[in-house]
Assembly symmetry: C3
Homo-oligomer: 278 residues x 3
């Protein structure tokens, strides 16, 4: 359980350093992203005006770009903020929400890939395939495709992730029933989580904010991505287990996931983490 | 209880079909709208840039327009999205939040009525009267008027709804202590809910998102509107009943309403539904 | 406990009058601001388009300006709305979120101070010092400095607040571990609250919305500011006490704070309020 230990250390590092994590993100899940960043131990800030994005990024330890409700005004701020972060060696994570669903969304995501050096890209299978240039179906902002551990698709997804990571020189994370995290050389699969999490909006966005928090405190982008994903999935599991199935549902579950991140500690990670290096 | 059975069937249909429900909505309640759409069984997407609204609407099974925090940029996207939906026979529901409160808001709501063919309009009494052209008082985004079952106002409200529905060839729903739902011929009154629901922001918006979800899966816009309203009201009742009145209040209640939608099923609707055809 | 009694009376006044509280605020915490305004007994409205801000402000009993996610479009609406409120003698409260963090944010906050007559300014120590023109460190949108009851800093903070209040002829409130509220003559310190509240986004914003609600119903801006701050802090205390520390955390706590405001009453304030006049 060497790797669980590393994830725990990354968590401790976030809690010690309280990294400021700047976000340009969507207005659907932004409150949950801010609260989960606080719950893990980071300090969130959201500001999207072009007049201040460079200044705000300069204060930050990591920068999260999430295109969930992009518009022409905020896209410019994303790109400018990303460039400033690159200048200052501040790590950037991209969540290409809904890439593939519309031409505009795909173009914007690709433009960010072109103009900003990313430490991590986290998306679902459809989004990542779209960015890599493989045909896929994206249904709105949810994946039109799922990863099944035993299918050929799983093998293909791992190949896509590795090749994409090598090509971009970044960490690529594909999240789904099983998660794939790779820097092009090392590849981890992560097996925590519960399918009910797909019934809450923003579990992907929150996961990206957690990755941003870890990036702001950790040395390795690969471990940051893995730690963000594993933290989110464990919190989802714990939240589901504690749910009173007769009276409670996804409304309560959302609060409990943030509770789960707040209560996360070394023991929980070491006991529950289900990560394989492949 | 024939009609409760129809509502139940509509619910089953949403859960089978998982309709993609595109929204251009306000940033106050958008997260709750997304989560309640997921809880009922739909798949929400929110995107408001003019560069992608036509593409996103084209993927959807229904389109929700909510003018809660309208601005000149998003209004154009609402109209363009609505036109595209009309072209493709995708049903559109309008929530004219705060129509009557400001001239701009009233104009925009009327412009949407003029340029977009709507399947359902859902509002409170002030909003609907404003759109129909009757003088009223709207206090901010909340109704300045209430419907009381025993008053003349109730009779008048039903007349307004019927006439408006005929004039526009759409389903009109007026929600309040009692709800009125009509396509101009058939008129239902719905009697579920609890007055505490007015103490949470977005119960109207969430109701409209539920109607959008039903529209994306059902054949009848009248049943979709009735089912959305009844689902919301029953969830509110159940949430209130389960509340620990000493320690819990409207913060917890909001999560429990989403829980109630997630746990909604045929039995709950058949037992609790209080719908009259008049 | 004369002063606790006055706060209670202010609460009763909010609940009797249901003041309409117009907000131009950020998209991160807007939903919580709306729900807490409803919970205290006010009626929230959020509208930021320049085409309707004057009309909406005209309907309101108080106007809240919160620059959390300001942009060039909404800043104009803030200023225009503020001027209209001044014309109509509608009280305005400013939350200068993150002033000091970026030059743009500081400029905008100062512009609002210049162009709009404010009844209350509420911020953390860094924000207030920035606006008063003292050098400070603001870390993102959170205070880079804290007030400690026994330090010199506390004495200095009280001086800053008093001088700033006199200079601007407004009530100044600095919130932190201890809160300072002054109109330049009378100065209160308020000692309720729990440090976990800093682990939830928007406790400051919600506090400002509560002050807006009290301003919409009370005669005295000083009492309104004190009442808003004390209400928020007591709700935070109660929420924390009721938390199941093994399974619950900041996700649940946020809902419980709104519950606490909903359940707030005279007895709770009289028993728990810890306010000193200095």
């Amino acid at each position: 359980m060497e790797i669980n230990k590393k994830v725990s250390e990354a968590l401790n590092s976030v809690r010690e350093k309280t990294p400021l994590v700047h976000h340009i993100t969507n207005y659907v899940t932004v409150n949950d992203c801010a609260n989960i960043t606080l719950a893990i131990g980071g300090s969130p800030v959201m500001a999207d005006d072009i007049n201040e994005v460079r200044d705000m990024v300069s204060l930050a330890s990591a920068f999260v770009i999430n295109i969930g409700t992009l518009n022409s005004r905020t896209v410019e701020a994303m790109v400018e903020g990303g460039k400033k972060a690159n200048e200052l060696n501040i790590p950037v994570v991209l969540d290409p929400v809904g890439a593939g669903a519309t031409a505009y969304r795909t173009e914007v995501a690709k433009r960010i890939l072109d103009e900003v050096k990313l430490s991590v890209v986290r998306g679902n299978l459809s989004e990542i395939k779209t960015l890599y240039g493989i045909e896929t179906q994206t249904k709105g902002v949810d994946s039109g495709e799922t990863i099944d551990e035993n299918a050929d698709k799983f093998t293909i997804a791992k190949e896509v992730a590795k090749n994409f990571a090598k090509k971009l020189n970044t960490v690529v994370a594909i999240t789904g029933a099983v998660d794939i995290i790779t820097d092009g050389d090392t590849l981890y699969t992560a097996h925590n989580g519960h399918k009910i999490m797909a019934k809450i909006t923003g579990t992907g966005c929150m996961c990206t904010s957690l990755i941003g928090s870890y990036l702001g405190a950790a040395d390795s982008a690969l471990i940051a991505a893995l730690a963000g994903i594993t933290s989110m999935s464990i919190a989802g599991e714990v939240a589901y287990e504690n749910l009173d199935k007769n009276n409670e549902g996804t409304g309560t579950l959302k609060s409990r996931i943030i509770d789960g991140i707040y209560n996360l500690n070394e023991n929980v990670i070491v006991e529950r983490g289900r990560i394989n290096e492949e």
